[in-house]
């Protein structure tokens, strides 16, 4: 087995005296989707932000984070800026609020492209259109000049995934990417993520265990900042061992019967 793309060990996050995440260990390999499931407030999202070292001022993190065999937990801010958007692409929960309402979709993509690749304005624009087309965004040529509010929720999320992938990152972090979408669109977006994750490692964060079941290879179940259960997705879903996992499954639509 080749070295994992992402290896996290002993990642802890604290707010003053309060420990939010006591010590997290994760590895994700090339082409693998790791699902992180758990209730709201279980530390999923802050763990994801900690990977890019973008926690709010009030929170501090410690622990080892290795990306592509290179430690990034001790990089300076300048180095981290090259990582963000370059080696780590992030998909946010709400694609409407995650695009600046007064800027076109294309300008945001181009900004990110030119931040990380040596491309002229015209080439960056071409790459933005190509990326949007690859995300199956209808009319990518026109959408590149569209403002976020003129697109539908699903189209916006496609554009958001395009933004995350435009610089071919090693790691995709998707934080509840389907929560703000309706069920049919959710399936399309999951399929898109599954397809795009082939060439990278993907951390998929969700409280929707059905979505996790649909695309993840492995699952970790979080409760109060700790991983209470982990393993291959099939195994966790069909033979849950921890009572919290069973509880999560019993609340899922269909009574927790997957696959």
């Amino acid at each position: 087995m080749t070295a994992p793309v992402l290896a996290v060990s002993g990642l802890s996050i604290r707010a003053d005296e309060q420990v939010l995440v006591p010590g997290l260990d994760l590895t994700i390999g090339q082409g693998e989707i790791l699902g992180m499931v758990g209730a709201s407030g279980s530390g999923k999202t802050i763990s994801a932000f900690a990977l890019s070292r973008l926690l709010p001022d009030a929170l501090t993190q410690s622990g080892r984070i290795e990306l592509e065999g290179r430690r990034i937990d001790d990089l300076d801010e300048r180095g981290m800026r090259d990582i963000r958007g370059g080696r780590i692409g992030m998909v946010f929960q709400d694609p409407l609020s995650s695009f600046n309402p007064v800027r076109t979709i294309g300008s945001i993509l181009i900004e990110s492209i030119r931040r990380h690749q040596r491309l002229g304005r015209a080439d960056a624009r071409r790459l933005a259109i190509e990326t949007l087309a690859e995300m199956r965004l209808p009319g990518a040529n026109a959408s590149v000049d569209a403002y976020p509010h003129t697109l539908s929720g699903g189209q916006r999320q496609r554009a958001m995934i395009g933004l995350a992938l435009v610089n071919q990152p090693a790691l995709i972090v998707a934080d509840e990417p389907t929560t703000a979408l309706d069920p049919t669109i959710q399936l399309q977006i999951l399929a898109l993520l599954r397809r795009q994750a082939e060439r990278a490692a993907c951390l998929f964060i969700t409280h929707d265990i059905a979505a996790a079941a649909a695309i993840c290879d492995r699952l970790v179940v979080m409760q109060a900042g700790r991983i209470v259960e982990s393993g291959a997705a099939d195994q966790v879903l069909t033979r849950p061992e921890h009572p919290f996992t069973r509880e999560l499954l019993s609340h899922a639509p269909g009574g927790g019967r997957f696959r």
């Binding site: 780590i88 946010f92 995650s98 931040r115 958001m160």
Partner: protein, 270 residues
Amino acid sequence: MTPRRPIAPAVLLVAGVGLGCLLVIVFGDVLAGRDHRAMNLDLRLAAPLTRGHLLGTDELGRDVLARLLTGLRWSVATALSATAIAFVIGTTFGLIAARRPSIMGESMRLLTTFTQAFPPFVLAVTVIAVMGDAGFWSIVLTLGLVTWPVFSRVVYAEARSLFQRDYVLAAEMTGMSAVRLYVRHVLPGLIPSLSVLVVFHFADMIVAESALSFLGIGAPLGAATWGAMLSESRGYMLAAPWLTLAPALAMVTLIVCAHVFGQHLRNASR
């Protein structure tokens, strides 16, 4: 595209006054037709519409209109400069504090509280007294240094909420530096409220400068400013009411216009 709203008559009026002010500022001397310092002791306290003196003359026989127009220049120049200084200090401070609320936010709160703890007017008088000479820059600097918290507070509050917007975080997640984040994503979001604030602050500065001049600690002695004109006219209020009315009405007009303009901006930015 949203349909254009019809332009309110008040706005046209304000635009007219604004244009008039601009003309006066550029061509003031020509429009007044005479030197605002020229005295004519044979023609003291002449009533308005006296031949050659549209708004009459004051106790030294100086033309009121010429003094009024010169005063407008002074008022607008000081108010604009003071607003600019308060804007630059306040906005810079507010933005830095919003980025690092834990460290810079606390020190900004201390400084603004310290500045605002004094009645602004008393503070301004004290600062000018310490600076010694009265003149354009001492007034402008004082007004700017005393009133910048107005900007820093608004900018701090708004920029903090902007920084918590998902799209700013998403932009930071693409590897943008703090400076670019400001220029491309945070500042544009501040323009609506800042532009309104600038207009209202300008009106406040007109009043503040006139008040300082009225007390005789603003403009240099003998300068034609609205505050000084009001102050000098006190002794002749019954005998020559136009000496009081002219600068007072001019000031009211300018301030009302600034406020109408500010209100319009505020409504337009909603």
